[in-house]
Structure formats: C-alpha cells, structure tokens
Amino acid sequence: MRLQIAAWGFIAPALLVIGVFFFLPVLAGVALSLTDFDIYALADLHNLRFVGLDNYLHLLRTPLFWQALGNTLYFVAVGVPLSIGLSLGAALLLHAKVARFKPFFRTALFAPVVTTLVAVAVVWRYLFQTRYGMVNYALGQIGINPLDWLGDPHLAMPTIILLAVWKNFGYNMMIFLANLQAVPEEVYEAARIDGATTFQQLLYVTLPMLKPTLILVGILTTAGYFQLFAEPYVMTQGGPLRSTVSVLYFMYEEGFKWWNLGTASTAAVLLFGLMLAVTWVLMRASKRGVDA
C-alpha cells in the first residue's frame, strides 16, 4: 500500500505536467469544437453560441474539407510507401558489401533531414520553375515539353510528395541501416548454405528480421504524413485550386487566418479520430502478421 503511494508520488509531477499541458488543452479543444467561437465571440462572450454537433455536420458538408481530406489521403497513400521504399532501398544499398564511400553517402543522404525546410523550399521552387527551372531544362534535353510543376492542379501534389519524400527518407534510412547492421551474419550464412539466392535472402531473411522496425517506421511515418502542413505552406500556400490544401492546412486557415476556432477545433478532432483509426488498423494488421 505504502509502495503504491510512493509510486503515485513519483509519477505525480509528470502526470500533473501532462494533465495541464496535454489533457486539459485537448479537452478544451473538444469543448471548443462544440461552439462557434470566432472573432465576434472574442469581442464579447455573449456572441458565443453552443452549437452541439453542428460544426461537425457543417464540416462534413464543406467541399473544401473533403478536398483537404482527399489531398491528405493522397499524400499519405503515395508518400508513405514511396518514402519507406526509398529509405529501405537506400539502407540496403549502403549496407551492401560492395558499396564504396559509405560515410560520405550516409551523410549526403541524411543531409536533407537536417536542412531547414524554408531554405529547401526556395531551392525547390527554383528547380521546379516552369520556364527556367532545372527540372524542365533536363526534361527538355530528352524532348519533353516543360511542365508547370507547381501551377498545375494535377502536378502540384506530386511535386509536394517528391519534396516531402526527399526531405524525410534519410531519417528512416538511418533506422533501417542500424537495424540491418544488427542482423547476425550467421543467418545469411545458413541461408547461403541452403542455396538461397541474394533475392531470396532479402525476401526470407532480411525483411522478416526488419519486420518490427518496418511496423514502427510505418506507423510513425503515417502519423507524420497525416500532419502535412509545412511543405504546402512554403511551396504553394495550398494552391493551385486548393489542390495542396491538407487537413492541417485547412485547420490553420480556419483557426489562425479566419479565427474560426470552433471549426478549426472540429477539424482537429476529426483528424485525430482518423489518425487513431488508421494507426489502430495498422497495429491490428501487424499483430495478426506476427501471430501467423
């Protein structure tokens, strides 16, 4: 009993901090999502209306919200596999015995992660500039007409995905690399003795050994990619034709540009629910895989 009290005593400071700085704001956010808090309510609290679930119903009928959701899902569905695939590929290449200049490549591939996004965005905007950008110049050399990368509603999101993947894959690559180095050499030796080809070794030895890491990286990356904001903010401001508005960007505009904190909180709660559901599904899927 006394041990229990002591235990509570030890975690109390941490609980208090989490309570005040996490749970309380979250609860306040949920409460806010049930009101129409806006600039008028800021002026005079009498202008605040309790609207129940109206914000949710209204949001679900707002085309821009669905568009933002669609854009975000597009970004996650394409960006996450691409990013993880690229990280894994780069890690495998760096881990390969024939690879040369490993420290150099490791640093070079990790460099985008530690550079500032704003600086990167400036460079990328030049690279993807329609008339003078290097990308279109390179495409022109092989006879492809210039593309309006950031101005065409169909191309802007792919460009944002390219930027995000390039910017972030180095981080996961490092995790994979560390894990690859922890796979004991004996397992490969045994596989070789059993006559496994290099590809079979990758499929039946490397990937299963990496599985826990893959799951972890998958969940973290998905959660991170759902919170797409900075890339469209610095590259396109949500345009052209709102094709790069993400849920978080939508929320930012509602909350801090138009000061509709009620609607913004509603979007936040919905995004939270969605991410919770997706993470739960991922966890379940991976658990079933482990059991089998």
Partner: protein, 427 residues
Amino acid sequence: MLPMVRLRETLRVFLGAFVLLLGACSSATSEQQTIRFWAMGREGEVVAQLLPEFERNNPGVHVQVQQIPWTAAHEKLLTAFAAGALPDLCQLGNTWVPELAALDALTDLEAHVAASRVVDPKDYFPGIWDTNVVEGRLRGIPWYVDTRVLFYRTDLLRKAGFGKPPSSWEEWERALAAVKKVAGPYAILLPLNEFEPLLALGLQQQEPMLSEDGRRAKFSSPGFRRALDFYARMFRNGWAPAMSDAAISNVWTEFGRGYFSFYMSGPWNIEEFKRRLPPEHQRDWMTAPLPGPNGPGASTAGGSSLVIFRSSQHAQAAWRLIEYLSEPAVQVRFHALSANLPPRRTPWRDEQLAGDIYAKAFREQLERVRPAPKIPEWERIVTEMQLTAEQVVVGGADIEEATRALDRRVDAILEKRRWMLDRKKSP
C-alpha cells in the same frame, strides 16, 4: 597630494552627476510618457527616422516603435487583444479596421478630428477616408494609400498603334489584342493569386458585391458577372497567362522582354520598375489610371491607417503623434523615405510628388477609389471570390453557376453576422 585632490574632485563630480540624475529620474516619472507604437514591415523601419523631431517638439513624450512583419501582424493583433496587451497606437491595413472595430478595440476619432487643425477630412481622398468609417464612426486616420493602376510598355503600345493608354474596357480590349500581335506571347499579367485586379473590376460596377448592410452576397448580380466575364475573357483570349506570380520568376525581367505589356499593380512597383527594369527599357514604361466599363474607372482603396486602441492610457499623446504624421510636410518626407503615397491632396502639390511622372496616374486614380465592403468577414470573402475566379479561368467553370455557388458560400460565412444583426434589432 596632487592625486588626492584629484580623487576628491572626481568624487564630487560623480556625486553631483548622480544627484542630477536622481532629480532627472524623479521628474521623468511624473511627466515622461511612453507611447507604444506598432508599425508593420518597411514602414516600421522608416518611421523611426521621423520620430526624433516629434519627440523634440513634444518634450516628455517618448515613442517606442515595435516593428511587426506583415505576415504575423494579424495573428499578433488578435492575440494581443485577447491578452489585453495592445499598444497605444498602431498602423493597421485599412481592411482590418472593420475587424478591430467589431472587437470594439478602437477609439472613436471623430472628436479629435473636429478639434484638429492638422487633420482636415476635406483634404483627404474621399474613397480612402471612407475605408475608416465603420458603421458611421471614424476609427482611423489614413496614413498612406495603395491602389491598383496599369503599368504598361509605351514602345510596344505605340508599335501596336496606340499613342495613349486605354481609358475604357473596349479600348483596353483592342489594345490587348493589338499588342499581343506585335509582342508577346502575352499582353497582360494578372497574377491568379492576387485578388486585387478582379476586385478593382468588381468595384467599377454599379451593383455592390454585398447587400447594403453586409447580410447577403450579391456576386451573381449582373454587375459582378460582367466584371468576372471581362476578367476571364482576358485569359480565354490568350492575353493573360493563367499563372500565379510565383510562376513568373521575375516580373520585371519579363516585362522588359515584352512577355506581357500591361501589368496591374500598386505604387511600390514604381521604385521597383526604376530599379529593376533593364536600363535600355527605362524610357519605355509608364503608368495609367485603370480603364472602366465606359471611360476611366474606379480602383481599390487600400493602404494603412493609424488607429488608437481604446485600452490606451496615452490617447492624447498618441493623437498628437497621428497629427504629426499627418502633417503635409512630414508626409512628403515619409514619401521620400518609403515611396508610400500620401492619402491627402496637399502633400501631392510638393514638387517631389507633383513632378513624378509615374505617380501622376496614381494621383488621378486616387480621386476614383472605392472601398470594399467594410465588414470583418471581407478578407475571407475576397479569398473565396478569387478562388471562384481561378475555377473559371483554370477549371473552365461556368460563370453563372460559379457566382451562384460563390453566393452560397459567402452567405454561409455571413450567417453569424446576420444572427448578430437580428439580435441587435430585437433585444
């Protein structure tokens, strides 16, 4: 012996200075007041150079300027309001005046103006003055103005057979078509991410974009539809590129190359054109007032105002600073420092401005500027308006359907406003 004397003397001097300092401090606490002044962007840098004279003329008043970047200003103002930390005096983009008036954060300036010998409403351009009158009450004093006019290539226009700039829509269309034939590939730049060009065309119409008290949207009225149709036609006919200004890497270089010959832009670009246009084209450009549907048309009434917050303890001193900054002579100096255009007519008679051939079009346009609807929701509404324009230009949406959809979206934005107005009527 000698060092000892010196030491004593030094001590005495120090003591004396100390006593004097004490005296100065105690008198300062009773009379010295500090005005906190928030200024945005470039103006924040420049205004500091005008203040020493004010402080000399007003002993005991110290002005503390805080420079705030435009991009963060709106957020900062609202959070400062919520936290009760607003300054005494502030530079405010005049489209933000209605919003802060709705928060009841602004001092009514009517009485100050009535008693003032410096601020004379009749000297101000009426459209600009009007942007500060919200629901019949004067909330700010215009500091400098911003409106949109045409920048154009005189040489290319002449080559296309036009000796002078167009003054009506019809002439404008003919000039655009002709200039596209001799230069190009385009004739005009209307960046798709800027709402001002379309807003200016909309303000030229008889019908307002919102109903009288700002309760309902009226974008589907024939007036705005005509404006949008004209705007969209410039893209459809291949006169304007459907691009944002980010896609045009360098507006000045392209203008110099004749990529387009007309550009609708604001006063800051006078300096930019002088500085950035290649030297061989420096004699080939001019500004002109905006053409309207039939003859010279209206344009937007932008710019910044000076406001005093109701929470201020130093309203009198803050008003004296507003008066000082509104003096014609000070406005001329402010123009020299910042290239901002004065909102009243007297400083325009100064040779520095009267002799500026590029500023002339602005001077003429300023007599014909019209404020946008003065409600807090306007900034959001105008964003929706531009989005509709983008849908029509890039997405090929039907103008009638698109404006109806815009009306519905704007009506939804105005729902809260209607509720509040109704409640005010029946308490």
